[in-house]
Structure formats: structure tokens, C-alpha cells
Amino acid sequence: MDPILDPDVELMLRVRAGDRSAFEMLIGKYQRPLINLIGRYLGAYDDAEDLAQEVFVRVHRAAPRYQPTAKFSTWLYTIARRLCANHARGGALRRWFSLSRDAADREDDPPDAGLNVADPADDPSVAAEKRQLRRVVAQALAELPDTLRFAVILRRYEELSYEEIAAILGCSVTAAKLRVHRAKAVLAKRLAPYAKDAG
């Protein structure tokens, strides 16, 4: 896709020109996918919102130098991938985030939030099963090697094309396909005991 035709690129060009409302529109559009992308990558949502906010901070700071060379979402997810990788590497950064959260936030977000959500209408045993399945799936994702994990999340949840995934991961399209395939193979093995729940 020609970046010029991407409506989000148009918004970003307005951000570059100092249009605050355009920035707010981009936040409104991408906050949810970003939080979920990051939460799934990290295996927990404790730090996902902080990191997603940090992605937008980087976007805004880069705005004066922004050049539309790719789709906006490709650029955004590339920033997210780098921040996630830094976060995963830095235990110190993780501690820093946990210290920065206030007590009210902690009460709002129980541990493993987002992976534990249950439909109130569910039977308690069914709800417990669903929670268990979510934990297993989150764990299986979290145990994937870094590059496979990001590739499969982008494909499965964001439904990005292999071309976009390749651009975000900085690899060839073939390598992006291979990563998704390998991730699927590993997940199929780990989730095989739960396959009956898939239907």
C-alpha cells in the first residue's frame, strides 16, 4: 500500500504540523490494539498500558522528523516491538514500572488482568475452565522465542499481512512466514492436550 494513501499517514502528517486533535485520533484508534499486542507479548497486562503510552510518546517526539515511508501502523508496531524487546530485556525497567504504579491502579488491575476475564453469566466451573485455558494459552505464547512470539501475535490477533510483519520485524517475507509457521508448530504441540476445547 502506498503510504500516501494511508489515512493514518495523513493524520501523522497533521501531527507533524502540530495538530493535536490528529494525534488524539491516532491514540483513539490504536490504543486498544497496542495494549493488547503488548499485553499478549509480555504475557500480562500489568505494564501494557504504560508501554503503550510510551509508544505514543515516542511517536509524538519523532513527529517533527516524520517521513511517510511506510504505513503508519507498520511504523507504530515497529516502535512497539522495540520497546517490548527493551522491556523484556530490562528487569530494572520492569521494576521501575511497578514502582511507578500507584496503589489505586493496583486495586483496579488484579494480577494477570485481561487473561482472567470471565463472563459473569458463566457457570463457575465453566468460568474456571476458561480462565485455566487462558492461562495455558498465555503461557504457551510467553514461552515462544521472542521473534516467533511477535510474528504470531501480529498475524493471529492483528491479522497483518506477511509483508507488514516482515517490515515490522525487519526480515524478509519468507522469514516472516517461516516464523509464523514455526510458532504455530510449537503452539500446536504445547496446546495439543487442549485441542478439544478449540472447537
Binding site: 510518546v57 493471529r156 508448530a185 500446536a188 495439543a192
Partner: protein, 154 residues
């Protein structure tokens, strides 16, 4: 076991293609799956895993998400400076490395009875270097502290 039929892709080819979504599978792959039970099992496992990934919920952002971004951006004039200037970090690392090279070569020159004391000096300097390296690998953390300060502001 790898099975083939005339005009049909091999099992290996089919399994490589199974990474693709079902909607993009070619007819030849579907034909192969129709008669090859082994590949069908592989396909079913992959599909099940793909479906199971949908068990994860979508999380909604908090209502204060956008405000949080703006708060992090707003007071750029009061941002704290990094604790250690980048040039100073690199200078410190280079100086530590140079000191180790000098001390090590001096110790090697002396040899003999001074080995034990010299080893202790090297060990201590190595520790310094290791600590410096740790600092260097966490430069991002140091640079991010300014954001922390902003977050703490009312």
C-alpha cells in the same frame, strides 16, 4: 510417513504450506488433505492451536489512557536531565578499560611473587568494569527516568 499421489504435492510441501491461512490454501493442498490422514492430523492440530489463541480476551484501555500520554508529553521544559551524560559514560568505560590494560600489562611484566596481589587488583578492576558494563546496558533505563519523574508530577 510421506505419501504422494500423481499430480499431488508431497506431504512435506503440504505441511510447509499449512502455515498459510485456510482461506489461502490451494485446491491441490485441500485435495491432498482429503486423502492423507497424517497431514490432516497435522492440519487439525495447527488449526486447533490457532483457534485456541482466540481464548485470550481483548483488554480495553483505561479511560485515562490518552490523558496519560499527554501528561507524559506535556512538561518537556521540566524534564529531568539524565543522571549521567552519555559522553561521560563512554569516557568512564574507556578509562576503566585503559586502566585494566595498563595494570594487567604491568602485572604480567612483574610476575613471580607478586602474582597473588596482582590477581586481586585485576579482579577488583574487572569487577569495576563489569559494573560499568551493566550500567551501559541499562542506559535506556537511565534515560527513561525523566519519564518517571513526569509521571510522579501532580
Amino acid at each position: 510417513m510421506t505419501m504422494t499421489q500423481p499430480d499431488s504435492p508431497t506431504c512435506n510441501t503440504v505441511r510447509a504450506m499449512l502455515a498459510e491461512d485456510i482461506k489461502t490454501r490451494s485446491e491441490s493442498i485441500e485435495r491432498h488433505l482429503a486423502w492423507c490422514a497424517a497431514c490432516r492430523v497435522v492440519a487439525e492440530r495447527l488449526n486447533s492451536a490457532w483457534t485456541l489463541l482466540g481464548a485470550l480476551e481483548h483488554r480495553e484501555p483505561s479511560p485515562r489512557f490518552a490523558a496519560g500520554v499527554m501528561a507524559k508529553l506535556a512538561p518537556t521544559g521540566t524534564r529531568a536531565r539524565p543522571l549521567i551524560a552519555p559522553w561521560l559514560r563512554w569516557t568512564a568505560a574507556a578509562a576503566t578499560f585503559a586502566a585494566i590494560v595498563v595494570v594487567t600489562s604491568t602485572i604480567l611484566d612483574r610476575g613471580g611473587t607478586e602474582d597473588k596481589a596482582a590477581s586481586a587488583v585485576v579482579a577488583e578492576l574487572d569487577l569495576d568494569l563489569l559494573e560499568s558494563q551493566e550500567l551501559l546496558t541499562n542506559l535506556d533505563v537511565v534515560e527513561e527516568l525523566d519519564v518517571l519523574l513526569l509521571l510522579d508530577e501532580p
